[in-house]
Amino acid sequence: MSDTDRRALEDLTRRDYPYGFETPVEEDRIPPGLDEDVLRRLSAKKGEPGWLLQWRLEAYRRWRTMPEPRWARVSYPPIDYQALSYYAAPRMNPRPRSLDEVDPEILRTYDRLGVPLAERGILSGVAVDAVFDSVSVATTFKEQLRRRGILFCSFSEAVREYPDLVRRWLGTVVPPGDNFFAALNSAVFSDGSFCYVPRGVRCPMELSTYFRINARDTGQFERTLIVAEEGASVSYLEGCTAPRRDENQLHAAVVELVALEEATIKYSTVQNWYPGDREGRGGIFNFVTKRGLCRGARSRIIWTQVETGSAITWKYPGCILQGEGSSGEFYSVAVTNHRQQADTGTKMIHLGRDTRSTIVSKGISAGRGQNTYRGLVLVAPGAANARSYAQCDSLLLGDECGAHTFPHLDVRNPTARVEHEASTSRIGPDQLFYCRQRGLSNEDAVQLIVNGFCRRVFRELPMEFAVEAQKLLSVSLEGSVG
């Protein structure tokens, strides 16, 4: 085979994951291994205060006593936590003041990914925090937001600049010992985003974080904390990609949201980590804990996720509905193609009176993908008049894939009303033929039908990202139907 042929072949096989490139930057990293000493070095590198190091160490000690969960419907080889490097950061000016001080190689990376770091251009209405491996490399629109009292920065910067806020809220929604992966994250988290919206302020633009894993043999462990004070509102979006590699890489993140009285937080995810190849080689193991606390009366948290990437997805963004009349919503599209496995869903914990939850989950399985919805709706004795509605639909493409649904309903108040609907369907030959008879190609027909299936969820995404999500879906399902 000639070089040109080989390149053409590579291009072809790579086409289905366009973000699989690697950025050649020199990285500063802590060698593989995990012990208390590594945590001390990590904390020192970041110049953290003593309380945070203590917090990490306690989480680490907790983690060491915890078994890795095995209840999810996913299978993967044992992860050697001592073989991973827990810190990798581009060697650069550690605290760039402006984009001019960011390594141009990294700026080019975000450019290729279509993430706007310049404060103008098409998506100029979106503020971005760009996290590259273990560190945040740039945050845009910080100053404009600051003028309205909105704090939006990397987690490390928040620890330095707003330690009281971080200390007040960190771990209040996802405590360090919550679960195995949350404990690991609490010990080793390196960066992430922080957002604080003060009382009565509606954030004037979309906030977003773009997570990029670049370095080899590392894990990414970011932590995001968003606090909306009384009457505040914010819409936040995260996107994720990683290079194409044959080894698996671990991503274990924690996201905590706090909504006080009448506050609204809308958190949208477009997760497109490298999914592995057709045979299941490589890909990101995505073990994530996301939870929102509706602490104040009539507060509202909306999770929307489009999960197309990762070899394994394990995440259950949930809401603790503590405030009276508060509401939690979860809208999800999860796609598994080739050998991907997803076990995802939500937890809605109704504690307050008159609380509401809405769950809309759309699972799409293709190739040999395995897709599981796992959800908990718990109505506590005090949650009089709680209402919950769940709809879980699965769509199968092909006959080697699987869809599974495990809804858990635990209702302890007689005035609650809890509904759960579920369906499983296939793209029928009748539907395909109907579309093709109207002139659409087979691929376009599949895309149209799948987008229709997901419409209820896409409607919840911010406009620009809804379009992105549709494109992403078509790329993920490329070649999945004969």
Binding site: P429, F433, Y434, C435, Q437, G439, L440, I449, G452
Partner: protein, 252 residues
Amino acid sequence: MLEIRNLHADAGGKPVLKGLHLRVRAGEVHALMGPNGSGKSTLAHVLAGRDGVTVTTGEVLYDGRDLLPMSPEERARAGIFLGFQYPVEIPGVGNSYFLKSSLNALRRHRGLPELDAQEFLQILREKARLLRMDESLLGRPVNEGFSGGEKKRNEILQMAVLEPRLAILDETDSGLDIDALRVVADGINHLRSNDRSFLLITHFPRLLEHVTPDQVHVLSDGRLVRSGGLELARELEQKGYSWIEGGAGGSP
């Protein structure tokens, strides 16, 4: 426009069409009648390229081109439209969005610029008014929750927007009340032109009172056994198919 020569085809592994000849010239309207199981829908499926129907012998020429190797979408792009006997539901996909994607796929193929949402909506509204279709149907998902009559009218709307050269309507008239039937007939009449042909597959002569066909054919056991004008349809209405089948079989 369409020439079918000695067509034999199997559906579900059984021979259904057994030597069918048919010639439809540009601008003509042909009605194809016949009892259940005589092969009417199988013929429609052969012409549209549906899986599960296998042509064993014979040929089909469309504008002089061999139709059979073409994929369903290629045939659609070449101007063949099938009005479905059972229109399919596509949940979550807006009716007008679907039709716009479809029209733009055809336009792309013909080297015409795609229409944007506004241009398309203008065309769609005009056609919907012509067919007296409720505009609320345009925004709903394709055929989802439509009544039987609404689904059939929606097929006619699609035909009106896509402006095919050969329209095959597979029992579009069955299950319609008299008002809906008139709408369907008006739609067909409106589209009749010198360069557009129709193949109307129907059980009942009712539709043919509103759409005067150039020719009426009777299909029985996979072959055309009679051809004639409107009077043939009227005769069928009086005497039933047994008259034809009996005649074809040679015993009373």
